[in-house]
């Protein structure tokens, strides 16, 4: 059993070259999940943006979230579109809403049996998956909460 949900060899995330989302990727390596919140109007926002879509303030703050979420939607890819997934078989992708962060949505894999039944509305908990290498990074994965 590998330590990562999907095999190594998929494209690795790197922060945008304008610096916008570097705090997110750095925080993940420190074991924290951060999303954006507007310091002026309180609107939660994800993915990363320079400006608040509600009040157009540039004063976006990185804010730690609990990592508790709800499955909003999902898919189960079978056909490998990348060499690293050849012969890997199906895997589950979930789109998770974070109720304690204005219901912004994050994408991740649902840990566990790739054949498992997925229930929209099920509670899930974030698990940070580290990829240690020359250019270390971490991903947010999800596990069904008891």
């Amino acid at each position: 059993m590998s330590e990562t949900y999907l095999p190594e060899g998929l494209p690795a995330p790197v922060p945008m070259n304008d610096g916008l989302d570097k705090p997110y990727w750095d925080a993940l390596l420190d074991g924290k999940i951060m999303v954006q919140r507007c310091a002026d109007c309180g609107t939660w926002q994800w993915g990363p943006e320079w400006i608040c879509h509600n009040c157009n303030s540039f004063n976006m703050e990185w804010t730690e979230v609990t990592g508790e979420g709800t499955i909003y939607s999902w898919e189960r890819p079978w056909h490998p579109v990348h060499g690293a997934l050849k012969d890997h078989g199906p895997y589950i992708v979930v789109l998770v809403e974070l109720p304690d962060a204005g219901n912004v949505r994050m994408i991740g894999n649902l840990l566990g049996d790739p054949a498992q039944e997925v229930t929209i509305g099920a509670k899930v908990k974030a698990v940070i998956e580290r990829h240690d290498g020359d250019q270390p990074y971490a991903l947010v994965q999800w596990q069904v909460a008891d």
Binding site: P11, G108, I120
Partner: protein, 393 residues
């Protein structure tokens, strides 16, 4: 306000297509395919290519108007337009932009075109060969979300959950295309019918989609020529008047990491009302529908968002007999569409809408006067248009 409309001011008077090849098998380079499609459209319209004075395309088409105009020896290039956005969301936008240019006098004879030779370039359904990603892909590729289907499947999964939609809906959409292709000798799937069993036995590509829910990828080019309604009257072909066109998407459709406000959607919720208002018709007046099938899931949501049925009525509405010409309630993709005729990035569907208005379709809907064409459902910038016969003016 009344003159701020496209309704009836312009018409499609010529259509042209190259032979359609399996992806990577075109003997011609992409640029040559584009030239051949444009010349075929000129021939169909009965004009000299030198009469063209404008170009409109979409999806970052690689064939620039200046190069085409130089190659064809066009004297005075008056209009060039590229509709932003990937995928096939820009087909009807290109037609609409061409029509708008003609309607206000920026140009007299504009061609909307698209060329694709994926052997020469990268395929859509394959992940690009990169080892690192940033921006939106950084939040998707490491989780195995890379192909167009993988990026859009969750919109449909949520829609199907909220509205209790059965997989039979997707199967009916796929079978409508394959059924129509059997009467169209040009179709890649001509002579290769699809049965319910064959559909049900096909492999998953990404749940909720099976193999037959996904379009082919082809090489080829297509073009349509747009002129003013006055000029169209005296030309070789029966004009297909542009009654309305709309493009765009609703609130934060393009928000990163799948945070669109209206997520279980094909992106047409705000466009369809605008389209019908301009065209002066409603869904009940539409005789035939062409809806770009990148995937059947997008067609399902686009048809709902264009008002043909309520979201919770999908299971009853999407029955094969309702979707096939000549007698169905809403004949859909009557050439075989992207699934079974050819994937010409949707312009083939626009040409089929013209054929229906002319009365030339291989699956003609008797007396079709109003034809709807839906482009690129689920991408973040979509477009849609309505063509009408002279009787609708």
């Amino acid at each position: 306000m009344s003159d701020r409309t496209l309704r009836g001011k312009t018409a499609i008077v010529g259509v042209g297509e190259t032979t359609y090849y399996k992806h990577g098998q075109s003997p011609d380079p992409e640029f040559v395919l584009v030239l051949k499609a444009i010349l075929a459209a000129c021939e169909d319209a009965g004009i000299d290519a030198k009469e063209i004075d404008g170009f409109a395309s979409y999806s970052n088409d690689r064939n620039e108007p200046t190069r085409i105009a130089a190659a064809l020896g066009i004297n005075d290039l008056r209009y060039s337009n590229m509709n932003w956005g990937g995928g096939g969301g820009g087909v009807a936008a290109a037609v609409g932009n061409a029509a708008a240019a003609v309607a206000v006098g920026l140009a007299d004879c504009v061609v909307a075109f698209r060329g694709l030779a994926q052997g020469q370039f990268q395929r859509f359904g394959k992940a690009p060969p990169v080892t690192a990603v940033s921006g939106d892909p950084a939040y998707m590729s490491p989780y195995g979300v890379m192909s167009p289907l993988q990026k859009y499947a969750m919109r449909a999964m949520r829609f199907m959950h909220e509205n209790k939609v059965d997989h039979s809906v997707l199967r009916a959409i796929s079978m409508a295309s394959y059924t129509h292709a059997q009467n169209n000798p040009r179709a890649v799937m001509y002579g290769r019918p699809l049965s319910e069993e064959k559909y049900d036995d096909s492999r998953w590509i990404a749940e909720p989609c099976r193999l037959f829910d996904c379009c082919q990828e082809n090489d080829g080019a297509a073009a349509v020529i747009i002129v003013s309604a006055e000029k169209a009257k005296d030309m070789k072909q029966k004009p297909a008047y542009i009654l309305g066109a709309a493009q765009g998407s609703d609130h934060r459709c393009g928000a990163p990491v799948m945070n669109a406000s209206n997520f279980p959607s094909s992106s047409f919720a705000s466009l369809a009302p605008r389209l019908y208002e301009m065209a002066g018709v409603g869904p009940k007046d539409v005789d035939v529908v062409q809806s770009y099938e990148n995937f059947t899931i997008g067609v399902m949501m686009a048809v709902v968002e264009h008002g043909f049925c309520e979201p919770e009525e999908c299971n009853e509405f999407f029955q094969l007999e309702n979707l096939t010409a000549p007698g169905g309630k809403m004949p859909l993709n009557t050439s075989g569409g992207n699934l079974a005729e050819c994937y010409m990035h949707g312009l083939g569907l626009q040409i089929e809408a013209v054929r229906q208005i002319r009365g030339d379709s291989p699956n003609q809907v008797p007396g079709a006067d109003v034809a709807l064409s839906i482009a690129g459902p689920m991408v973040h910038h979509v477009s849609t248009d309505i063509l009408g016969s002279e009787a609708t003016l």
